[in-house]
Amino acid sequence: MEQLLAVWVDALALEAPDGSTLRDTLSLLDALDAMCPFTEAVRLGLFVLPLRGPSRFFGGDAAVLAMVRQCVLDVVGGAPRRGVAEGLFCAELAAHREVIVPRGASDAFRRAQPLEVLGRKDLTTTCQRLGLHSVGAFADLERARVGERFNKHALTLHRVARGELSELEGQRDPRLARRLAQLRGEEEFFDEQQGFFGQRGAGDDRAEAAAHRVRRRLGADAIAVATLRGGRGPEDQGALVPWGSPESKTRDLAPWPGRLAAPSAATTLAHPAPVQLRDAANRPVVMDARGALSAEPAAVLFSSPLRREVVWHAGPWPLVERWWARHRRRAHLQLVLATGEALLMVAESSQWWLVGIYD
């Protein structure tokens, strides 16, 4: 599992009524992210970032820890608590205890913790009656026995205790990302889209009748409406849904941070096409864990023998998506070809995909 640096900032843990907490959270997130891509605000007060990439880039864990501390001092004013361990659950504990858990030792670290860290008083009390005092002792209980003795919630905690889940329920605030995005002013862009028919007029009736005709001619899925939804890349944000389908009536909008800036691609492929990027020596261009390219892209190879010269590129811009759950890293890259065409690519675990065409 990946080593995470968790940063606990006491001053940002409790939300002040004047909105300053959220603003400072955003400032700090941006400052940290500029240094260490893939930094995330997990909930108020808690930030995490994968350590390996920045550590290689800045020349060691100690250097990253020092830079992060300075960064928090500069932006917030107070010193943070920092800790390193594998998985979000252990990383946060490490931060509160201000320890660096060596690679591979997170299991032992977790097992040695008192049961209170699981955050359930009832569980702690019952376990103590059974003579179980540490996370490890609880983890060693057979799953069936936990099921008998405790409620369903305890089964999840048991999995966390065993290291099968890397994150405690409630550890993450799922609304925080959206609130930060709104603070960035992105909600202005996604101004509210209403259902297909809000207030009806004669024009709506005519359009609906025409849509019915097309559907009769070509089938139920042939005619569609557009929907906007949460997503980092334009290829995730917009989609077509069949006209008249349930999704077409409740079109959800959820701005996310890290959205690519305008202008967006006029074509975004619903099914991204795998392509290859090559450098000047015709070697594949790959993106490392830090989000850096192995070399400047010089050509793009499409599935056919089609090869196009790349004359300019920008990015990669990392996208952070549930990386705590799966090691899924993606990044956007813009290319301009010698033909004048501009393309949007996504890198995902050393594979490149064409996701957009600025046509």
Partner: protein, 201 residues
């Protein structure tokens, strides 16, 4: 808010920068507009930008034959997605789908999946005149629209301006038409600009 009543005026509104470049400062009802551009050089953005002002003012539009429209780009261009219908993959029935939609919406953007035949094109243009709607046909130089258009936009050059990202694209567009606009004129416009909109240079 939707306009209370849309008087059936002779033209549909056009946004910047096109308003200043065409006769009547709008899209004449019953007319066919052809946008011709080499693949990947801004034809789709240009064609969508022709829809944006009418869409924003409450008119219905349809997009036929654009397989994977960039929905975010359309919002940036100023279209109101509440009143846009899509037929992304009409297969062989692109002309029929467009004809169906011409009865129900004010503007239809169509990108034929293959070279448009003369008969299909004529039938569509006739229907557009009958219904008083506007057809915007998107074509490529190697598969041109087979009939003369009332208004013709031909992209001859596209150039990106970039900083740390793609910022804006300068399109050189030849605009011509019938009557007073027959000879045509060449303009450099920005589609899209830094906010994803179309604007004058």
């Amino acid at each position: 808010m939707r306009p209370v009543a849309l008087a059936k005026s002779r033209t549909l509104p056009l946004g910047e920068p096109w308003r200043a470049l065409v006769p009547d400062a709008g899209l004449r009802r019953g007319s066919t507009v052809v946008v011709e551009a080499p693949v990947g050089l801004g034809g789709l953005s240009l064609a969508l930008s022709l829809l944006s002002e009418a869409s924003a003012q409450g008119h219905w539009a349809a997009v036929v034959g654009v397989d994977d429209p960039g929905v975010v780009a359309m919002v940036e261009l100023g279209l109101d997605l509440r009143r846009v219908l899509f037929v992304p993959r009409p297969r062989g029935a692109w002309a029929e789908s467009a004809a169906d939609l011409l009865d129900g919406v004010d503007l239809v953007l169509v990108r034929p999946p293959s070279r448009a035949g003369l008969v299909a094109a004529r039938r569509l243009m006739d229907r557009v005149r009958e219904r008083g709607t506007v057809l915007i046909a998107l074509s490529e130089p190697r598969a041109p629209w087979p009939l003369p258009a009332d208004l013709f936009f031909r992209v001859t050059q596209a150039e990106w301006v970039a900083s740390s990202k793609l910022d804006a694209r300068y399109l050189t567009v030849h605009v011509s038409g019938r009557g007073e606009a027959q000879r045509g004129s060449e303009h450099v416009v920005v589609v899209p600009n830094r906010r994803g909109r179309a604007e004058a240079n």
